[in-house]
């Protein structure tokens, strides 16, 4: 019966799925962190910090959007 289980796919799933979850978590965490700190920096008038945190938020947002698009591609192309 063990032969019936695709152990290679199962093992790959065990590291790939948590990695995907953690990547998305970090990406969205960067969006939240960047946006919140950017607002604080803007209130304090620190323009250099505003730019830096905006870049962090944008990078996180781009990574999150890429993950969503990849999810959509998986849905569309699945057998």
């Amino acid at each position: 019966m063990i032969a019936a289980i695709d152990t290679a796919a199962l093992l790959e799933l065990m590291w790939a799925a948590p990695l995907a979850v953690l990547t998305i978590t970090v990406a969205y965490g960067l969006v939240i962190n960047g946006a919140a700190r950017m607002a604080e920096a803007r209130r304090d008038g620190r323009s250099a910090a505003v730019g830096l945190y905006a870049a962090v938020a944008i990078a996180g947002g781009a990574l999150f959007a890429a993950a969503v698009v990849f999810g959509l591609i998986i849905m569309i192309s699945k057998d």
């Binding site: 019966m1 032969a3 019936a4 289980i5 695709d6 796919a9 199962l10 790959e12 799933l13 065990m14 790939a16 799925a17 948590p18 995907a20 979850v21 953690l22 998305i24 978590t25 970090v26 969205y28 965490g29 960067l30 969006v31 939240i32 962190n33 946006a35 919140a36 700190r37 607002a39 999150f64 993950a67 969503v68 990849f70 999810g71 959509l72 998986i74 849905m75 569309i76 192309s77 699945k78 057998d79």
Partner: protein
């Protein structure tokens, strides 16, 4: 004439199953969004309903076999499919009544396995397929989702824990709208196709479609998409309450971790050709997001009941599927058996619904928006 009647009954029963699939699984996509107030209840079910409908059109690679690789396809008749659907509908309604999230796909497989077993004995059931496609994924999905969502929430608290809670909560609520949308779309692509596959198979058996893997006719796609969307819109509030607030009381970051954790596990598994149950993944993720914050925050008694429900899904749906096939067979192999069973069940459901309406609000009342 008999085969025409059986075909109509199978199509009607498949759409009824699709409807129960929709309202049973609404919770998977939107329960956490409602409990964290990322979305108002009615807005959430409307969004999920529309995206389920759209999702049904995204991919039309419909499997021409029901429970393929699990039962011997040569032994699957329209009566076996009918009996399997009744088993699945029974289990969906029972678990919905008790507010327990359970897999509609496993219920359908169980129903068909039971009916095929009653029709042709043990040779109809392929145990290797059962192990590979049902039992192993049922164990793997919640465990991986539990660990992944648990890790995600710990990382989240580390990244945003020192920020002011107001903007953080608003940000994660926004993120939940994206993850709920992705889950709803994914549900539409997966689950509406099961119904399309069942109806397509019945049409092949009836001689209306030919070829090894014919595409479903447009009316099949539209009716399956509509049934699952309507089911989703009606909202299975009992399961939404369980998933959203009874297992754990969650904050927006936990809701986001649970939803994205479940979605990422599901989509990664689909990418690797190892399909998992949406219900098992999301429930595991909700438990993980709660337990990682504080073990005592999780209502483990309720979690235990959910797991018992998962263990019982296959045998219970199989038993009802086998019983339905046996009852139908008493009246011969024609349409009389399925017809009598359908009419009896419709009468029973109408009586139960009528009695319930007389007692008070309808069963699918949305939680109050405060």
């Amino acid at each position: 004439m008999d085969s025409d009647i059986i075909l109509i009954i199978v199509v009607g029963t498949a759409l009824a199953f699709d409807f129960t699939n929709g309202f049973h699984d609404t919770a998977n996509a939107i329960a956490t969004s409602i409990s964290t107030r990322a979305l108002a209840p009615r807005t959430a079910v409307t969004l999920a309903s529309v995206l389920n409908f759209v999702g049904a059109f995204i991919s039309l690679k419909v499997a021409a076999t029901v429970a393929g690789g699990i039962v011997d396809a040569k032994l699957v008749t329209t009566t076996v499919i009918f009996a399997g659907l009744i088993g699945a509908i029974f289990w969906n309604l029972l678990t919905w009544y008790f507010g327990l999230p359970s897999s509609s796909s496993h219920a359908l497989i169980g129903g068909v396995v039971g009916a095929a077993f009653a029709a042709a004995g043990s040779k109809a059931v392929l145990t290797d397929g059962l192990l590979e496609k049902v039992i192993v994924p049922a164990v793997v999905a919640p465990v991986i989702a539990f660990l992944a969502a648990g890790g995600a929430i710990l990382l989240t608290y580390r990244m945003v824990g020192r920020l002011r809670p107001g903007p953080v909560n608003r940000g994660y609520r926004l993120g939940q709208i994206a993850s709920a949308s992705l889950l709803s779309l994914s549900h539409g692509t997966n689950d509406a196709q099961k119904t399309m596959g069942i109806i397509t198979l019945a049409l092949i058996a009836h001689g209306d479609l030919t070829g090894a893997a014919p595409n479903p006719p447009t009316w099949v796609v539209v009716s399956a998409a509509s049934a699952i969307a309507l089911g989703t819109y009606s909202g299975g509030w009992r399961i939404i309450r369980t998933m959203g607030s009874r297992i754990i009381k969650m904050d927006p970051a936990q809701g986001f971790a649970a939803q994205t954790g479940g979605a990422a596990v599901l989509l990664t598994a689909a990418h690797l050709g190892f399909p998992l149950s949406t219900t098992h993944s999301i429930t595991g993720a909700v438990l993980g997001a709660g337990a990682a914050k504080r073990l005592s925050a999780v209502r483990w008694g309720l979690a235990g009941n959910i797991v018992i429900g998962w263990i019982l899904t296959l045998p219970a749906a199989a038993a009802v599927g086998a019983l339905t096939y046996g009852l139908s067979n008493i009246f011969g192999s024609g349409a009389l058996g399925p017809l009598l069973i359908s009419v009896s069940l419709l009468a029973l459901m109408a009586a139960i619904f009528g009695q319930r309406v007389r007692r008070g609000p309808a069963l699918t009342t949305a939680p109050r928006e405060t």
